[in-house]
Symmetry: C2
Subunit: 435 residues, 2 copies
């Protein structure tokens, strides 16, 4: 009997788009694959804003990593990686584990970047994790409940003012969804306040919305948001955020609900590897996504600074993460099998989309631009399609059709904390006498 050859160990950190794609490309490989994630589920982030605005349930946009990765060579570990020993080829976890690897694929994604103002985070959460989204939902729904019970005019106005920071897809989608929540869903449900009078303000630092899209689509988004009654400030710098609201361009806006969708930064992979990140925290990688000087360590997805064919960094999109993950998975599979090196990575750019509200969206697909109802239907179809592998497509479709028909939202729950904090009781409206 020949001496047993040790099976190569591939450790993938992160079970998002990139990590899943890499693990799936390796499932026929003789390698032993370990996927480490701090959650037991993989998140479909593009629909997370709908969880934050009570349209979908957390389980509709998430699926257990274990049931997505059932290949016999693959193991899933619920733990949080806290460091990498690049010399000894081991990752360290919060759970006290020390996992050795022959190849390491880091796909930990991005988090919101408060531009050095980490104190803002508590007042302005962004929809990045399920817990974030549920917390934003709680704050939005509670703001209306508190406004209904509030006797003070100024406080009520602040409760009914919603500021969204960032005019990229996340900010535009959040602002549109908050407007629909207030003006379509909640409008008939209150007696003292008029939810339709909610003031929604979208603040963007740059000169236009949806900067990554063709300028015409940004202008369309501006008009569509205005139609929903959303105020848009362009070229506006957020200077401060606290419990009272936001200061932007020297003006203070009293707002009890602030949502962050401005900038993202890579998770601290650069620090683990001891390399210098770019200004978004991302790590420069070679053409094959290996880290310069560390040929067995790969960085993929939002956390990698990979260049496209045009020499510009690839955007932080699900499609990019997925394609990169699949590429690196296949590359490792081939290398472990002793096959010759794969061809170079080329991002297949199918385009970008963002939705604003009912029958309003923008899509830029391989140079063809769509707006309005066509873009909105495209957006819905594409997102349902990419939920494949999740049970959730049918449930999401039903939720959408039902919301479209009734304007109701399926997940209007305030959960996770105690009831409302005490506020001053409101005066009752005068009511007609019994005739």
């Amino acid at each position: 009997m020949p001496a047993a050859r040790r099976r190569p160990e591939v450790v993938i950190v992160g079970g998002g788009f990139a990590g899943l794609a890499a693990a799936r490309a390796l499932q026929q490989s003789p390698a032993r694959v370990t996927v480490i994630d701090r959650h037991n589920y993989s998140l479909f982030q593009p629909l997370l804003y709908q969880v934050a605005t009570a349209a979908l349930s957390p389980a509709d946009v998430a699926a257990p990593i274990r049931s997505l990765l059932r290949a016999a060579n693959t193991e899933v570990l619920l733990d949080e990686v806290v460091g990498v020993d690049v010399e000894r080829h081991r990752v360290r976890t919060a759970g006290g584990r020390d996992v050795g690897f022959d190849f390491l694929v880091l796909t930990t994604g991005s988090q919101y970047n408060y531009f050095g103002h980490d104190a803002w985070r508590a007042f302005a959460p962004g929809p990045k994790t399920l817990d974030d989204a549920v917390e934003i939902r709680r704050r939005l729904l509670l703001a209306f409940e508190r406004a209904e019970m509030c006797a003070d005019d100024g406080e009520r106005r602040a409760l009914m003012t919603f500021v969204v920071v960032g005019g990229g897809p996340t900010g535009v989608e959040m602002a549109g969804a908050v407007a629909e929540l207030a003006k379509a869903t909640l409008v008939r449900d209150f007696r003292r306040i008029d939810p339709a009078s909610a003031h929604i303000l979208l603040i963007e630092a740059g000169p236009e919305l949806l900067g990554a899209f063709p300028a015409k689509l940004g202008r369309y988004a501006e008009k569509a948001l205005a139609k929903l009654g959303i105020e848009v400030w362009l070229n506006a710098r957020v200077e401060h955020i606290d419990a009272e609201g936001v200061v932007a361009n020297g003006r203070r806006i009293a707002a009890r609900s602030v949502i962050w969708g401005a900038g993202v930064a890579a998770t601290p992979v650069a620090q683990w590897l001891g390399v210098r990140p770019d200004r978004h925290g991302a790590v420069d990688v070679n053409a094959d996504f290996s880290v310069p000087g560390h040929p067995r360590i790969f960085v993929v997805g939002d956390v990698a600074r990979a260049l496209g064919a045009d020499g510009k960094p690839l955007p932080g999109l699900a499609a990019v993460a997925k394609q990169e993950g699949r590429y690196v998975g296949a590359l490792l599979r081939d290398r472990i099998a002793g096959n010759k090196a794969a061809t170079a990575f080329r991002y297949r750019d199918y385009g970008m989309m963002a939705t604003i509200g009912r029958s309003a969206a923008v899509a830029d697909l391989r140079g063809f631009q769509f707006t309005g109802r066509v873009a909105w239907l495209l957006w819905g179809g594409v997102h349902l399609y990419f939920l494949i592998g999740f049970r959730n497509r049918l449930v999401v479709l039903i939720n959408w059709l039902w919301a479209w028909r009734t304007y109701a939202r399926g997940a209007r729950l305030i959960t996770g904390r105690g009831p409302s904090r005490p506020v001053a009781p409101a005066p009752r409206r005068p009511s007609p006498a019994v005739p």
Copy 2:
């Protein structure tokens, strides 16, 4: 112009089955109705155990009270009642409100009763609120994750041991659902543990399961649970519960997950009213559900000790709460309209059901008893039917059909807290060498 007559104020505390039914019966009344609940949603408790076992999402079994009660005369207040001033006719809330009433309907329901051992609550939550259910789900799913990572045999066994306390419908349904979660849903998803080897123990103090049902159905449940591999202890007294497990009948069972479904006690309405409760904390009421000595205060649902035609207290069922709520709502409507007193309340008993697992349930319907697949289909149909008024029927039906087909569960999320606490790393299984 005649002097305006003041419209009577009806305050309903609780937006569950009883409170909703009372408010709905009053929606055409000239009364002004205020429904106070500490949650913004009404909960369909009979399916809560499915949230606790990852089969359904919280939003599938809950609906916003505001959207269920849109009548112009009805107001909904998100607040928690903490006391009643029976002399001045006012209720006090945690939010500092002081709400006056002409008629008060108390429907605050029940909570788990730890028989004087409130310290057990932390170790053995029961599925009573949405937050409870999500916490139980978190514990169940995390127990398997921790077992997978656990190197210590004894600890792994304790993690894979699940104790359910109480052999009534809640306990039977929880035990069955935990067994299916382990043995059908999770069974293919782990590499080091075999979820099918989970040890599930149901402990009942009395001599039979489902004591409120005909004895034959209790015996069927026992057999059906045994088929699912669940161990049932009858005549077993729980003496102690702590972080390490349960002591019952003098034996210690090492178990990291304990679920309480043993006894319920009424919420502290008796204390608010300064009356003597029965041993379950419920309040004795007159035939019209008013409190003796307080003709304008009514107590309805689990918190009332109302007697049936046979002179025995009516059980704590959704159907009882609903019928009582509707009766008191109609009674107040008639009284306010100056019509003559309604006829006496009579509970229409349609029966009781409990489900054990796939194709296994019991139903006792007006003297006809069903078991097995017929009872199971009846149970499903009845529960879907009573979800009426909630969007959720279709989504629940899809989840059920999908689960039936695939054994998967739609809401396998560990949310709400940090990742797993550190445990000792497990040894890797020996793996075959590459040939």
